[in-house]
Symmetry: C2
Subunit: 734 residues, 2 copies
């Protein structure tokens, strides 16, 4: 059903490539006595300006931005957050190096906080031996959206809190009334509690095992920060414990003051039972005292003891003996005003086309790496670009919008509300979204994810930037050593990931709006560490000191990320023809298709569902004979002497800009909030192929029910229609 369609995309991509040549060569650069706008509309990227930009992006400026941004903790909607709002506005409204305009936009969003008067605590037996670390009033670690409650029961160890973990545990122990301790990883934060509740578990603890974050190291005497980048025993990873992104009380509506809010009791995708994060110093005490059988080897972490399931509860020999564990959780939910800070540079030729560059501003504590590394880079880009604009040396062809999103840590709320509020305007006008959240995880190599069509502009940009700390090697050449793949069209190239999840603010742009997006950072040498993420992630140790000593001394990786992302930004804003390559998209779709055929075709054939034929599209050339003629025509007009219309370039650009929009289907995933992109939606099947198809197939195969097989057929049709629709966007316009 979808095979021919993909080939169709490839073909039309070829047509477009020719179209791109028209764009580049067809418009004469000087037009004699023509009006000045004739020259303006034909202007392409100015490479000397790119060079100037690259040379002006300054590592020390980034360092000082970070120092300023991390002065105080700035959790969403707190006084520290307000301080960063004012700082962003001041910088973006600076008369020498600010943007054309900058302003704040408020949303009233549903957040969750610990009670400053009653810190959450964990008790064993009668004595309060574990109390979650209080770094500062208001910032004691907690699980946002965990309900308040005071569950008390025998402790069990449930590995990562995956469904299979609880299932296995339940075979050995009666879990009713127990408290489960789990480690981070393997399952989403909220899922650890959601998966637990059906077994009668009444509370959950979650900690970071040194195996997963510290390459096994755990001594704060000489191993962990401040001796290295590793997490100290007292570090606690906070986080948002919810499954859906955006404000949960105002689904699909911008959370303005008077917006209708669903009753809080109707919110889904949050923990039904109390859950609390703790540091591994506390987890160690609890886990190593557990009784019962030894857990399987995959459940073992780095502690110097065997991880047992729990009796439930502790060993007889333990000092805890048969004590219960009690959680006292005082979290409460509140609707609060959270601000996005927005800034724009107005486009000169096509002000109604937007390139959006964004990052969140809120942190859990000081948030030096997450998110202030990204914000420091964004401020440096906007300073360099803003200065060129203020000095009259440059104005981009298209408009640039900078977004400093609020309340991302609570589930990408600021960016999601923004896309809900400006849905049509952003859909119709946005060329691309660039996300730089954690700018530097580590200083080994560039990392990029995005729609396949942005691969090429990322490569172009990365080739022009020097790799930090390496003599005469580009970011691109360095990158290809760390992560590469073989492309049928390009040979060996760096591997660009996909944005199928909702890990940062790109989510609403990718999944809800269907805007071509990318996420850029500097990251690890994976041969040197197995850390799940940089060790201080979401803890109070993510500070300026930590960042400047152990993540990126000298801030040169920040600089490289900024140069690369800024170069991409300029190219997207200034290129005459948008640097989006749809044939790279087709290559990825072909890979997905091949996987789908390998995995599913046999079974589907047996059920009379065909994957290999799409009559409509196959017949299209007969219906539209001129399509092929036009491909030829395009080839002919490659001739430089032929004058072409600026509207022809706009037409091609609109085809490129809107390609991803054709993949949207607002009804395809009724159970996944905000997921409309049928190629990149999240998937639980874990297969590198079309997500709706993969998940439906998994379900049908396990249930065997005929209506589940109907769903597989339905998702094939959704996919076929979406890809067909995308191909129609790329074919000759009429």
């Amino acid at each position: 059903m979808i095979k021919k369609v993909l080939i169709g995309i490839l073909c039309s991509a070829a047509v477009l490539t020719l179209g791109i040549l028209i764009g580049h060569f067809g418009i004469t650069k000087s037009s004699g006595s023509a009006p000045s706008w004739v020259r303006d509309v034909a202007k392409d990227v100015d490479e000397s300006l790119v060079e100037k930009f690259l040379s002006e992006v300054d590592n020390i400026q980034i360092q000082e931005n970070l120092r300023e941004l991390t002065k105080v903790p700035h959790m969403a909607t707190t006084a520290g957050d307000e301080q960063t709002v004012k700082f962003m506005l001041k910088r973006w409204q600076d008369p020498e190096s600010g943007l054309d305009q900058a302003w704040r936009e408020e949303y009233m969003v549903y957040l969750s906080f610990p009670d400053p008067k009653n810190p959450n605590s964990v008790t064993v037996g009668e004595s309060l031996i574990l109390q979650t670390k209080k770094i500062l009033r208001w910032f004691s670690p907690y699980a946002a959206y965990s309900p308040a409650g005071h569950p008390k029961g025998k402790l069990v160890y449930a590995n990562q809190g995956k469904p299979s973990d609880y299932e296995l545990l339940n075979r050995t122990i009666d879990l009713n009334g127990t408290i489960a301790i789990t480690r981070y990883g393997g399952a989403g934060r909220a899922a650890k509690a959601i998966n637990a509740a059906p077994y009668g578990i009444i509370g959950v603890l979650v900690y970071t095992d040194p195996l997963d974050i510290n390459d096994g190291l755990m001594s704060d005497i000489n191993e962990t920060y401040p001796h290295s980048w590793y997490l100290p025993p007292s570090g606690v990873e906070r986080g948002s414990f919810k499954n859906h992104y955006g404000d949960m009380l105002t689904p699909y509506l911008a959370a303005k003051e008077e917006t209708y809010r669903i009753p809080a009791k109707n919110v889904t995708g949050i923990p039904p039972i109390p859950i609390q994060p703790i540091g591994f110093e506390d987890a160690y005490i609890l886990i190593c005292e557990l009784g019962g059988e030894a857990a399987p080897s995959e459940w073992q972490g780095s502690f110097s003891c065997t991880y047992n399931f729990g009796g439930p509860g502790f060993k007889h020999t333990s000092t805890f003996n048969n004590s219960d564990v009690k959680l006292d959780i005082f979290n409460y939910e509140e609707v609060r005003s959270s601000a996005n800070v927005m800034g724009v540079i107005r486009g000169s030729v096509e002000p109604d086309r937007y390139v959006i560059y964004g990052n969140h501003r809120d942190s859990w504590v000081h948030g030096a790496i997450d998110p202030s590394s990204g914000t420091s880079v964004m401020l440096e880009l906007s300073r360099v670009l803003g200065k060129m604009v203020k000095q009259g040396k440059w104005r981009p062809r298209r408009s640039i919008i900078f977004g400093s999103w609020g309340a991302e840590e609570f589930g990408l709320i600021g960016s999601a509300e923004y896309t809900e509020q400006y849905f049509t305007k952003l859909s119709e006008r946005t060329v691309a979204y660039i996300n730089v959240d954690i700018a530097v995880f580590a200083n080994a190599t560039l990392r990029a994810s995005g729609m396949p069509s942005v691969q090429n502009v990322i490569f172009t940009a990365a080739k022009q930037v020097d790799a930090p700390g390496l003599d005469s090697m580009s970011v691109y050449d360095n990158w290809i050593q760390y992560a590469n793949k073989t492309s049928p069209a390009h040979g060996t190239i760096p591997r660009v990931g996909y944005l199928s999840g909702a890990g940062s603010d790109y989510a609403a742009f990718v999944h809800y709006l269907g805007i071509t997006s990318m996420d850029i950072s500097y990251t690890y040498d994976r041969s040197k560490t197995n850390a799940r993420i940089y060790p201080a992630y979401h803890t109070a140790y993510d500070t300026f000191d930590y960042a400047s000593k152990f993540i990126d001394p000298g801030f040169t990786s920040h600089q490289a990320t900024g140069r690369t992302a800024g170069n991409i930004l300029i190219r997207l804003a200034d290129s005459l023809v948008l640097p989006l390559n749809c044939s790279d998209y087709a290559e990825s779709l072909e890979e997905y298709l091949k996987t789908a055929i390998d995995l599913y075709q046999h079974q589907l054939k047996a059920r009379n569902i065909s994957m290999g034929k799409n009559k409509t599209f196959n017949n299209a050339p007969d219906f539209y004979p001129e399509m092929n003629q036009n491909a030829l025509y395009s080839r002919k007009t490659h001739d430089k002497s032929d004058n072409s219309l600026p509207l022809k370039v706009r037409m091609i650009n609109d085809q490129l800009m809107l390609l991803d929009r054709a993949f949207l289907n607002p009804l395809a995933f009724p159970d996944k909030y905000g997921y409309r992109h049928v190629i990149w939606a999240s998937s639980s099947a874990g297969q590198p192929t079309f997500p709706g198809l993969a998940d439906a197939y998994d379900k049908a195969e396990s249930s065997g029910q005929s209506n589940d097989w109907d769903k597989v057929h339905y998702h094939l049709s959704v996919l076929s229609q979406a890809i067909d629709g995308a191909a129609h966007m790329l074919l000759d316009v009429i």
Copy 2:
């Protein structure tokens, strides 16, 4: 919540009006030695070409088109339909007067037919005294999508089959096991059976009362056709008995061969019990013999007897005595291949902008008026325009797409599948859709419905066309005498209706795609007739003879409709700045708002739901200070000597084109298939105001439940966000 927003729209409409002035005057008409495209992109409508077009639209050509189209019955997917497909293709592929390209596109759609071997029948007692008229094998009257079945029971009269009708009847009679006879009007076709079933009614008859269609006349000796336009006693109105438009087995997916189809048993919105249409000669026999109490006066029709409820069943004194009525219905459903015929004229400057002009091709029998009057006009327009193109005298700025839709009579299927298949392409590129289905209901005056933004171009066009049969009076001046209203901005003007229903193929364009649309025809002098519609509607009497003798002798009203619609088409295709007036849209929204405030504000205030304030938008000027500056800037560039960019005009046109798209919300009406436009969706509340709000309010007021009041608040928020979004599309682009 929405008041200020509307004022905002008005303001931004003013900004746009200034923008329009830039477009008209800013681009110099000659540019010296500039490339030729500099002149081409600045070209506006050529009024001499409009005149030439008007003079060439020929009434006799239309008459001959109609004669050809109505030679044989052409119900969807029959041999007669195929004949019309070939005829359209021949005309649109004509080398002298055809289009650039024309082709057919097939969909496999779910239809319903009578069994040619077993004609449906209605029996009283033991003798077959009523047999539905068999006009021709395959075209015996039937209710499409009525299930087959053989219900037998006592007859009752249920007026129009509205919920209130059955409710009233049920107070007097036990309806279990009865057959209800109903008259057309008051409720949808399928609704008459859907409303009946819950009362235990097992079959339904439906007929056209002479009161509703014939101004009371019913004698075929001297009163009805062929003596006049009135329906003869044997005439039977056929129709599609379904609530949702489009193919019912493939919701939101184009019905291609391999598309997933839902099981037919899951189809909703069709009659759960057999229903059959009959002529009033048969209805007369049945109704005048009914026993029981006299029905209320509003239930009485034109028959020369009292309409009784039924005993149930007939009077004791009737020859039918206590006989049952039996329906023998042999209808069956089938998936069949139905064709759209498509034709295009490629645009010269903006080929990627479409003006779509369409009508369905299929009829119930010969379908002279419905739909062939419209098709005859469309063919004449395409002949005149095609000839100009073939002769090299003209090529529109934008592309023109002609659509001859299939299977409209079965629920707008061809046009709906087309919009599903090409969703993104059509959404992103279509400037407007013009529907001319029944071109001439009667020859008194023009009738037009559409989004308020098209009012002005309809007026412009109608002022340039002579009213048929009237000396030196324009279609516009004639129209204003029949239907007018007072506009705050324009004074007395003809009344243009809204497209809030799904009466013809505009439905998918308006409600699913959110494309600015209009529906044009010539119609009645309402002071001369109360006929629900032209009397031969959907009967075998709708023939060429009928049309040419009683609807439009001389075909001058067809000509006037064609000239007006064609003039609109040219203006939409050729105008430099699109002739869509968003301030007229704002005027209609203000009226809707005023009604909403009058009707609902008091109650909503009492429930703490505010309608009068929208903080976001109210504050917008502070956020975007440049907006107002730009209004000033626009005013300044009114100056003719200032050169402007062609991309600036494109930008304004995109704002106008996409305005309606901002009103779409795919989740607002989960129970209404294909309805996404929050301003024009269908509504059962019967109030001239926002449909979702009105329906939710009605429900909440009658149930009093708090979750129903929540729905009212929700719809206010949906509306507020949509209008806000539309305003953002009109404001300065960045």
